[in-house]
């Protein structure tokens, strides 16, 4: 088929570059410069989709992003693009276009049977039925679910990558139609940095579809010349294919730029996207206006199009969307379309004009062409099935005026400014009765110009655009005194519109008359909604789904406002529109996510020894952002076996742990001790330099926030260790207290977590290993006792060595500068080889500390645990205040039946209790069953040769030895256990003191 509806001259398509794509497998010939929609029309394809609910045949309505019908699926596989609009998709060679939401074919769609029962499934029918029998709802729902939806999701991960651009400018101009181009030009000439964004492939907007002239040039050529001038101007960025989709507070504007490749594939030429976050000083809003449809019976038939869209197809794409046209209007715009059609050789059979006296130049020109103008007439009904075949006209009081055969019906119900962005940011707007539409008012650095501001005439738009660009530039501080030069065009009188919302009298009863084509919301649906009391525009929207389709109701909402106002007998201004929400046009999730996916979804933090751990075959676990060595299985070893080996190595010989992830905060200044006294529960001022102490930090609510060891490095300097995942929150909290509550304290906090790596040697031979690695620190137990620290060198590297222990064994935590850590680690491993040194991971660390009954914040505690609950009441100073102290005397904090930390020993020593398993006194089938608490940590202890567990149990400390049962998590079994003191190994603590 070779484009029977292509006009033989004119248009902006490149006739020298023919191309072919497919629609449902059928080849479609097109030219470069076509959209999918213009090419389909050129080939006489008018049925492009089925409606969402009734599956009625639907055609192309518009030539832009407002189209409610032309949703198609592009390409296939991983690169498929669901629900794209044929009206904004460039025709490219090899493109594969498929229909959505019809089965088995677009022509014969079995789901069009919904149309037969349409009288019984009006808006909200599902609220009134499908309730019985209750158990069948899943079946009903399954059916509804599969009937709904449009396109198909891709079947494999997205191969495209998306970037974000962060930009600042003086003036952002949204829309490159006449007003936008004029504004950008004026602002640029004033010296402003300008970004000009337009959603179409080329700048120009309505200029590309008109025969009018600007500055003596045909309008499209003026648009081209102006765009070229702008693009060549320093400081000006012209962004075609770029939709401004969101306007947020601080006038942050989000643009989605579709990237175009010159090597298109089956999904077309769109090759990823960029999201621009623009913070302009001023915004010129030149987003134009959407033509409004009109109501009549079967107003959804393919072949019914917006009049302006017809002009665009004729003038810009050189396509005749039909062979015989009728126009239906309430304003002057359709007359221009009539002239465009006549020029193109498409006969216009009639114009039905709502107005009783359509006077003016355009009207006379049309009459001079011999076109029949029916004043005071309306279309009552469009005949035809898959395409309009004829329209029935009648007078405003319903008197039939006969039928007119046609295959194209152009409608124009006036224009609604595209104020979406402005309204998203809650910019003010007013009802303009002469336009019968809401018009935005400028505010907060936003300057509406052109059609969006109600200036529908070309000369007016150019004038207002120039003014807005100049004003915006001046407001942004750019003014170089250059004269304002307004592009000249023929003056035209502003179109006079006679609002026509509801067909009068009996006509209004004809059906179906669609208000929202995408959602199949009819006039009757709106009536039903109002009848049932859903009168607020938001109620109407939610009850009927008006405007909830992927077109966001761009055409439907402005029409609905007028219709509802008339049905209710109210002023449209008081009816309003549903709240405008981003995005103006849909934006892909991937584009919004940008590069923050894969490894960049969240930074991965690793220690300097990461390569070593990997080479040693470690398995890793994620702890916050950190990747930590979990255990080091040897070939053929299970996790259980590996952990058992690591545990015994530490208990009997020596182990080495990469503990660099611990948070480290240096606290310096004359008042550092006083500061610690306030934030820790115990006393610090008298801690001697060179000594370490365990500290507990509470929230003001009295609950354990963090714990760790702090060392006094010298008189005015302390080093605080925090738990790995609390490093940032602890620092933030300390800073907040210091700066906002205690600015009088002379204390400075510095995070040194990343600067110092921490290597823990643990086990009876750790002293030997440290000595063998070479150190100038005396290691004798008298010179370097438990809970002290020394500075010196280890393996030739400056080090801070802390004799502290999280395993209960003789242990040294060796802090070295991070860039030397790998060297020291390897030196220790080498030196330890004769002693059987074994690297161990976090799992072994957990087992070892659980054997000793040491808590882990976040595991034994959950934000509802006080120090006394975990047996650390001795760390609460009575002599001083500290954060959270007051909360510990609240009634609930002193309840005797609080949950307390106990140990649990199963009757079967090989039975490992499930962590998270709950503890009860007496098992049984009753639900709810009273619970005493839960297992917080549970392991097999290799050194004890049996399982051990820690648990939080109500009143547990007073009843040690009691019989308890733990519920399993997967099956309904009960594991018997007895409570015990939570220190299982070396209760005297002798081993760490050796």
């Amino acid at each position: 088929m070779s484009q029977p509806f292509r006009l033989d001259h004119g248009g902006r398509v490149d006739r020298d570059t023919p191309l072919q794509f497919t629609f449902d497998g059928r080849p479609i010939d097109a030219f470069r410069g076509d959209t999918v929609a213009s090419a389909l029309l050129a080939n006489g394809v008018t049925l492009v989709g089925r409606s969402f609910k009734y599956h009625r045949p639907r055609g192309i309505v518009s030539a832009g992003a407002e189209d409610p019908n032309a949703f198609v699926q592009l390409g296939h596989g991983a690169r498929t693009l669901p629900n794209r609009l044929a009206t904004v998709t460039a025709a490219t060679p090899g493109l594969k276009v498929r229909h959505v939401n019809a089965w088995p074919t677009l022509e014969y769609d079995v789901m069009s049977a919904f149309g037969l029962v349409a009288p019984f499934i009006p808006a909200g029918f599902y609220y009134k039925t499908l309730m019985w029998p209750r158990r069948l709802w899943p079946l009903y729902e399954h059916f509804l679910r599969h009937a709904a939806g449009l396109g198909h999701a891709p079947d494999a991960p997205d191969p495209d990558r998306y970037d974000h651009v962060h930009a600042h400018c003086d003036v952002l101009v949204v829309g490159a139609g006449p007003a936008g181009l004029a504004a950008a030009r004026a602002a640029a000439r004033a010296g402003a940095r300008v970004i000009l964004a337009d959603e179409q492939a080329e700048a120009g907007g309505s200029l590309l579809s008109t025969h009018e002239r600007v500055d003596g040039l045909p309008a499209p050529r003026w648009a081209d010349a102006t765009t070229t001038e702008l693009a060549a101007t320093r400081g000006v960025t012209v962004l075609p294919n770029t939709t401004a989709f969101g306007l947020y507070e601080s006038n942050l504007v989000l643009l989605a730029e579709r990237l175009i490749t010159d090597q298109p594939d089956s999904a077309g030429s769109e090759n990823g996207a960029r999201v621009w976050r623009v913070l302009p000083k001023q915004i010129v809003l030149a987003t134009g206006a959407h033509e409004r449809p009109l109501l009549f019976a079967n107003n959804d038939r393919p072949g019914v199009m917006l009049a302006g869209a017809i002009s665009t197809y004729v003038n810009r794409y050189a396509v005749a969307p039909g062979s015989r046209a009728v126009l239906f209007t309430n304003n002057d715009a359709a007359y221009r379309t009539a002239l465009d059609l006549t020029d193109a050789g498409v006969p216009v059979a009639a114009i039905a004009d709502v107005r009783s006296d359509p006077a003016g130049d355009l009207s006379s020109e049309v009459r001079a062409q011999g076109i029949a103008v029916h004043a005071g007439a309306v279309v009552r009904h469009a005949q035809g099935g898959r395409r309009v075949a004829a329209v029935e006209l009648c007078s405003l009081d319903g008197a039939p005026l006969g039928a007119v055969e046609c295959d194209l019906l152009g409608v124009s119900g006036g224009f609604a400014p595209a104020l979406h962005l402005h309204a998203q940011a809650r910019g003010p707007s007013e009802w303009d009765p002469t336009l019968a539409a809401f018009v935005p008012r400028g505010a907060n650095g936003i300057h509406p110009a052109g059609a969006v501001a109600g200036q529908l005439g070309l000369a007016d738009a150019l004038r207002q655009g120039t003014q807005a660009g100049s004003t915006a530039a001046a407001a942004a501080g750019c003014s170089n005194g250059s004269d304002l030069e307004v592009p000249r065009a023929n003056e035209s009188t502003q179109a006079f519109i006679q609002p026509y919302w509801l067909p009068p009298g009996g006509l209004a009863r004809a059906k179906p008359q669609f208000v929202d084509l995408h959602e199949d919301v009819t006039l009757d649906d709106l009536r039903l909604s109002l009848r049932e009391g859903f009168e607020s525009i938001e109620h109407v929207k939610r009850y009927t789904t008006l405007g909830m389709g992927p077109d966001q109701g761009k055409l439907a909402n402005p029409l609905a406002t007028g219709v509802i106002a008339e049905l209710l007998g109210r002023d449209p201004a008081s009816v309003g529109t549903p709240r405008h929400r981003p995005a103006y046009s849909p934006v892909s999730l991937g584009a919004i996510a940008g590069r923050h996916i894969g490894p960049l979804a969240d930074p991965v933090r690793v220690t300097p020894m990461q390569d070593w751990h990997e080479a040693a075959g470690a398995r890793f676990e994620n702890v916050g952002q950190w990747r930590r060595a979990w255990y080091y299985p040897q070939p053929g070893e299970s996790m259980h076996e590996a952990v058992a080996r690591e545990c015994l190595a530490v208990r009997h010989r020596v182990g080495i742990l990469d503990y660099s992830t611990l948070g480290k905060i240096e606290i310096t200044g004359p008042d550092a001790g006083e500061f610690l006294d306030r934030v820790y529960t115990n006393a610090w001022k008298r801690l001697r330099p060179g000594r370490c102490r365990y500290g507990l930090m509470l929230g003001e609510d009295g609950m354990i926030f963090d714990d760790g060891v702090t060392a006094r490095l010298d008189d005015q300097r302390y080093l605080m260790f925090t738990s790995t995942s609390n490093a940032a929150p602890v620092l933030a909290s300390l800073e907040q207290w210091l700066q906002t509550e205690w600015p009088d304290l002379r204390v400075y906090l510095t995070s040194v977590s990343e600067h110092w790596s921490n290597i823990a040697l643990a086990g009876p031979r750790s002293r030997d290993v440290l000595a063998a690695a070479g150190t100038d620190i005396p290691l004798d137990r008298r010179d370097f006792p438990f809970m002290t620290f020394r500075q010196g060198h280890v393996a030739g590297v400056q080090a801070r060595v802390f004799r502290i222990s999280f395993s209960g064994e003789l242990s040294y935590e060796i802090n070295v500068p991070a860039d030397c850590a790998r060297h020291v680690w390897e030196a220790l491993v080498d030196a330890g080889r004769p002693f059987g040194i074994t690297p161990y991971g976090t799992e072994t660390m957990h087992v070892l500390r659980a054997e000793k009954g040491f808590i882990i914040v976040g595991q034994e505690t959950d934000g509802s645990v006080t120090p006394d609950d975990v047996g650390l009441g001795r760390l609460l100073s009575r002599r001083k205040d500290f954060l959270g102290k007051r909360s510990l005397s609240r009634p609930d904090s002193v309840r005797p039946d609080r949950k307390q930390l106990v140990g649990l020993l199963t009757d079967d020593p090989n039975q490992i209790l499930p962590e998270g398993g709950h503890v009860v006194d007496s098992p049984g089938p009753r639900r709810p069953l009273p619970m005493r608490g839960h297992v917080t940590s549970s392991y097999f202890s290799p050194v004890l040769g049996r399982s051990i567990a820690l648990a939080m149990v109500t009143g547990g400390r007073a009843a040690l030895g009691e019989r308890l049962y733990v519920a399993t998590l997967h099956d309904n079994r009960w594991l018997p256990a007895r409570s015990c003191h939570p220190v299982f190994y070396d209760p005297e603590g002798a081993r760490q003191h050796v």
Binding site: G149, L150, I592, I597, R890, L969
Partner: protein, 416 residues
């Protein structure tokens, strides 16, 4: 009340649906009521319904500042579940879930409660541990809960990326089969219609501007439509609780934040259950219309603004693309926010106040929608008896003084 049924739909359909009557009356405001409920959202309307239905209190007005259901009931992501950690929460949410299961029939209004199952996925050992604890508690509280392996999750949601080499590997998760979603607006409309049928006056566009008290008792409300007397007043105004409470001189432990959500364009069905990940602040399900509904985390600053910070959307969509790589090319259609009132322990306040006759039901944070029926039930009891129902006794305002908090941060799915 006109009965909703298929035969009625057909019968009236044959007459062009011309004889349907309003779902609820535009009630004439009277000068005095036994009980006034402020806020015609889900919880307020449910309270009114159960007051009339269970306690015979029908001289009730529900006052609404704007349009009925325009607050959080119309802005949430419609998720229903009861898998909460602590006993007090588990009991009230499970009670609510049981009401959900027959709510359409109870109200003669199809709220489209769809028990498509709810998956919580874990990305770290710590999260697995926390989920296990929750499952353990749920099972003993009589709430259906299962631990799932990565393979089982993959089988249920094949489009979820469960490969081990992602930034957020799925290590396991939990399933509540009885969890799911409901049509949120319909819940408000269904309760409004049913309450109205029992004689409750629902008055829209009536804003409360003051609370009158005498001798420590509430006596009347000042509104934009004049003064209305009542001895019992229930404030059920999510997003405005502190504002209303301050009119009576009451301070609350509540902070208001925007919580954002978004929907995508409609797609043919791609997955069934609700999937939630607390670590990356994502919850997602596919509606019956085919849209993906995505919830995000809350904005950190206190704000009553209804736009929210776009940065949150970027973060949540990055996580979504990481978890569901095939959704990357699907497009965001609409994004919005609601105001959530968050308590320090992420649990609500359903309680009397220092002023006699004045009660509050607030602070539901992100969890309000799922609790709607149960919350209405216990609050109606509280208003009718002037003392709490056993289920809401733990949710008193006093707990912030005694310290008996119910810390559900782990279960709230989004980090407060």
């Amino acid at each position: 009340m006109q009965f909703y049924s298929l035969p009625n739909l057909i019968r009236r359909g044959l007459r062009g649906h011309r004889d349907w009557t309003p779902a609820w009356r535009k009630a004439q405001l009277r000068p005095s009521y036994d009980v006034i409920i402020v806020g015609a959202g889900g919880h307020g309307l449910a309270t009114a319904y159960y007051l009339a239905k269970l306690h015979g209190v029908t001289n009730v007005a529900v006052l609404e500042r704007g349009w009925l259901g325009g607050g959080n009931i119309g802005r949430n992501t419609a998720i229903v579940r009861s898998n909460y950690l602590w006993d007090a929460s588990a009991h009230i949410y499970e009670f609510s879930l049981k009401l959900w299961e027959s709510l359409s029939q109870e109200l003669n209004y199809n709220v489209m409660f769809s028990q498509r199952g709810l998956l919580n996925i874990a990305h770290s050992e710590q999260e697995l541990h926390d989920l296990a604890r929750r499952v353990g508690a749920n099972r003993l509280n009589g709430i259906d809960a299962e631990l799932l392996s990565t393979e089982e999750i993959s089988k249920r949601v094949p489009v979820l990326n469960t490969s081990p080499d992602t930034r957020y590997p799925v290590l396991g998760g939990t399933l509540q089969r009885r969890g799911g979603v409901a049509r949120h607006d319909a819940v408000a409309w269904g309760y409004a219609r049913a309450a109205d049928a029992l004689g409750v006056d629902i008055v829209e566009n009536c804003e409360v501007t003051g609370i009158r008290t005498a001798n420590g008792r509430v006596t009347a409300l000042e509104t934009t439509r004049g003064e209305i007397r009542a001895g019992t007043v229930g404030l059920v105004v999510a997003g405005n609780a502190t504002v209303l409470a301050s009119m009576a001189g009451i301070r609350l432990p509540i902070l208001s934040h925007p919580l954002q959500a978004l929907v995508t364009e409609p797609l043919k069905p791609v997955f069934d259950p609700v999937v939630m990940s607390a670590a990356v602040h994502v919850y997602v399900h596919q509606t019956d219309r085919g849209e993906l509904v995505l919830g995000a985390g809350i904005d950190a600053p206190v704000s009553y603004d209804l736009n929210g910070n776009f940065r949150i959307i970027e973060h949540v969509l990055a996580a979504v693309c990481e978890l569901f790589p095939i959704f990357s090319r699907v497009r965001m259609l609409r994004q919005w926010a609601g105001t959530v009132d968050v308590c320090p322990d992420a649990s609500p306040i359903i309680s009397g106040t220092p002023i006699k006759g004045l009660f509050m039901n607030c602070g539901w944070g992100t969890g309000g929608f799922k609790a709607t029926p149960g919350s209405g039930w216990v609050f109606a009891h509280t208003l009718a008896h002037q003392e709490p129902h056993p289920l809401n006794e733990p949710f008193s305002l006093d707990r912030f003084t005694s310290g008996a908090l119910i810390d559900e941060h782990g279960a709230a799915a989004v980090a407060h």
